[in-house]
Symmetry: C2
Subunit: 301 residues, 2 copies
C-alpha cells in the first residue's frame, strides 16, 4: 500500500517534471481537422461526434506529453457539457492516461455533506476498472465533506484554498477576527485535517489548490503549511509565470505541481508555436510542455 502523495512525488522526481497538464477541451479551439466546426452549431444533436473528436484530441495530446508530465488533470465541466457521450469521453480519456502510466487528477471540485461526499468518493476514487488517483474538492462544507475522499490512502484530494480567478477575493479574502483571512483559516484547517494522511515524503494526501496568479499569497501560504502539497493553477493563459510559482515549492523543489491547460492544449494558437500549424497541435503542445517544465526546473534549482 503506497500513499497517493508518495506516488505523486516519486513520479514527479522520476520524470524531473513539476508540471500538470490540464485537459480542458474548449471546443471552439480544437483544430478543424479533428473537430468539424459545423458540428458545434447543434451541440445536443452532435454530442456523440463531438465527444469522439474530444477523445481523439486528448489521446494525441497524451501521446505527445506523456513522458513530460507526472499527472494530468481533466476539467469535468468541458466533458459534462457534452452530456452522456461527454462523460464517456472523460472516462476513456482517463483510462488512456492511466495506460500511459500517468496519474489522474480529476478536476470536478465536488463538495457535499457526509453521505453524499461518500457517494462522490466512491464514484471516482473507488472505480475498480479505471483507477483515478485523485480529485479536486471544495472545503466550504467542512470536514465531513472532505474526509470521505481520504479514506483510501492510495488516493488523494486537492481542496480549494486560494483560487486563481479575479473574484477569489470576494469570500476567500474576508478578514477574520483573529487576523487571519478566510483562505488562511482554510489552509490551517486543511493542514490539521490532513495530519493523519501524511506519507513518507512528508506531505499529506490532503493537498490544496493555490493559484499562481497571487504570488504573494502563495509564498505566505507555503510558509504556513509545511505538510500540504499544492496544485498551482493559473500558469500561462491566466497570467502566472515561472518566477511567480517558485514560492509554492519547498527548499528542495518538492511539494507542488504547476498546472497549465489552455497554454499547452492550444499552444498551436500562440505565435511562438504557430509554425507547427493546427494539424500538429500535439507537437506544439509538447514543445510548450517542455518549455514550461524547464522554466520551472530552472527557477526552483
Amino acid at each position: 500500500m503506497k500513499y497517493f502523495i508518495d506516488r505523486l512525488q516519486q513520479k514527479i522526481e522520476a520524470k524531473d517534471s513539476r508540471i500538470c497538464v490540464g485537459l480542458d477541451p474548449h471546443l471552439e479551439l480544437i483544430p478543424e481537422n479533428v473537430l468539424a466546426p459545423e458540428l458545434l452549431n447543434d451541440l445536443e444533436a452532435n454530442q456523440k461526434e463531438i465527444a469522439a473528436a474530444v477523445l481523439k484530441y486528448n489521446q494525441n495530446l497524451l501521446d505527445a506529453v506523456a513522458d513530460m508530465t507526472a499527472v494530468v488533470k481533466p476539467q469535468m465541466a468541458f466533458y459534462e457539457k457534452l452530456g452522456v457521450p461527454g462523460m464517456e469521453a472523460l472516462w476513456q480519456t482517463m483510462a488512456y492516461a492511466k495506460s500511459k502510466g500517468l496519474l489522474v487528477l480529476l478536476d470536478g471540485k465536488r463538495n457535499d455533506i457526509g453521505s453524499t461526499a461518500g457517494a462522490y468518493a466512491e464514484a471516482y476514487l473507488e472505480n475498480k476498472k479505471i483507477e483515478i488517483d485523485s480529485i479536486t474538492i471544495n472545503p466550504y462544507l467542512g470536514r465531513d465533506g472532505v474526509l470521505p475522499f481520504l479514506e483510501n490512502k492510495e488516493k488523494g484530494a486537492f481542496a480549494l484554498l486560494r483560487t486563481s480567478n479575479p473574484s477569489a477575493v470576494d469570500i476567500q479574502d474576508l478578514k477574520l477576527d483573529d487576523g487571519r483571512t478566510v483562505y488562511q483559516a482554510v489552509g490551517n484547517f486543511l493542514q490539521e485535517l490532513g495530519r493523519d494522511y501524511i506519507g513518507d515524503c512528508g506531505y499529506s494526501n490532503l493537498a490544496a489548490v493555490v493559484g499562481a496568479t497571487y504570488p504573494k499569497e502563495l509564498k505566505e501560504i507555503r510558509a504556513q503549511l509545511d505538510s500540504v502539497f499544492f496544485l498551482i493553477p493559473g500558469f500561462g493563459a491566466q497570467g502566472g509565470g515561472a518566477a511567480d510559482i517558485k514560492a509554492g515549492f519547498d527548499s528542495e523543489g518538492r511539494g507542488a505541481v504547476v498546472n497549465s491547460s489552455r497554454g499547452i492544449n492550444f499552444a498551436y494558437r500562440k505565435d511562438e508555436y504557430a509554425h507547427f500549424g493546427a494539424d500538429n497541435y500535439a507537437k506544439a503542445a509538447r514543445a510548450a510542455a517542455e518549455k514550461m517544465k524547464n522554466e520551472i526546473n530552472e527557477v526552483i534549482k
Copy 2:
C-alpha cells in the same frame, strides 16, 4: 420570458406545496423487486442494470408525488456513482420530471472559475432537449463562479449559504472582524449579487441553500435577506422538523421550499409507512410527501 423564480413561486402556489422532493437513489435502500441486491456486488460490471433500476424507481416515485410537489432535486453524486449509465439515468429522470410538469433543481454544487463555470452553466442550464430549470452551486470562488449561472433569466441557481451537515461550522461559522460570520457574509454577498435578477415575486433567481437543522441561524438569515429565496434541506432524515423551518418563510408563507430526500424516497422503511410494504414504496412516498406538505402548510399559515 419569465424569471425562473417567478415560475417556481407560482408553481408552489398553484400546488399549495412548499416541498421539494429529493431524488437520491441510495442503492442499498431500493426494494429488491426493483433492484436485485446481488447486482451491487459488482457495481462496475452491473452499471447498466443498476442504472435502469434507478430510472424505474425514480419514474414510479415521480408518478406518485408529481401532483404534490412543484420541484424535484436529483442529487448528482448518486448517479455519477454509476458511471456513464448513471448519467444517462439522471438525464432520463430529469426528462421524465419535466414531462410531468415539474421544475428540476439539479443538485451538483458545481463551482469553478469564470470560463469553467460558464461551461457548467452551458452543460446544464442551456441544454435544448431537456430544459433543466436550476442548479446548486458553491460560492467559495466568488462572483465569477456565480454569475455565469444567472445569465439566462429563465433559469436559477441555489448557492450554498449555511449547509445542514454537522461540520458546516468548520468554515461557515468562522467569525469575521466586522462581527459577522462567514455564512452571514456569504448571505450578504449573495443578496447583493442577486439584485439584478429579481423577479415579479420579489425574490431573486440567485437563491440560497440554508439547512433546516440550524433553526436559529435560519431565522436570523431570513431576517437579513429579504430578496433571497431559500432551499431548506435537512428535513426528516437529517433531523429538522416543520417547526424548525417556519422561520425560513416570509410572513406570507413565500420565499422558500423545504427538501426531503430519504424521508420520502424510502418512506416505506419507516414504521409509520411500513404497512405499505416494499413493493408499494411509491405509495409510501406519496403518503410521506403529503404529510410533509400538510405539516409545512400548517406551521406557515
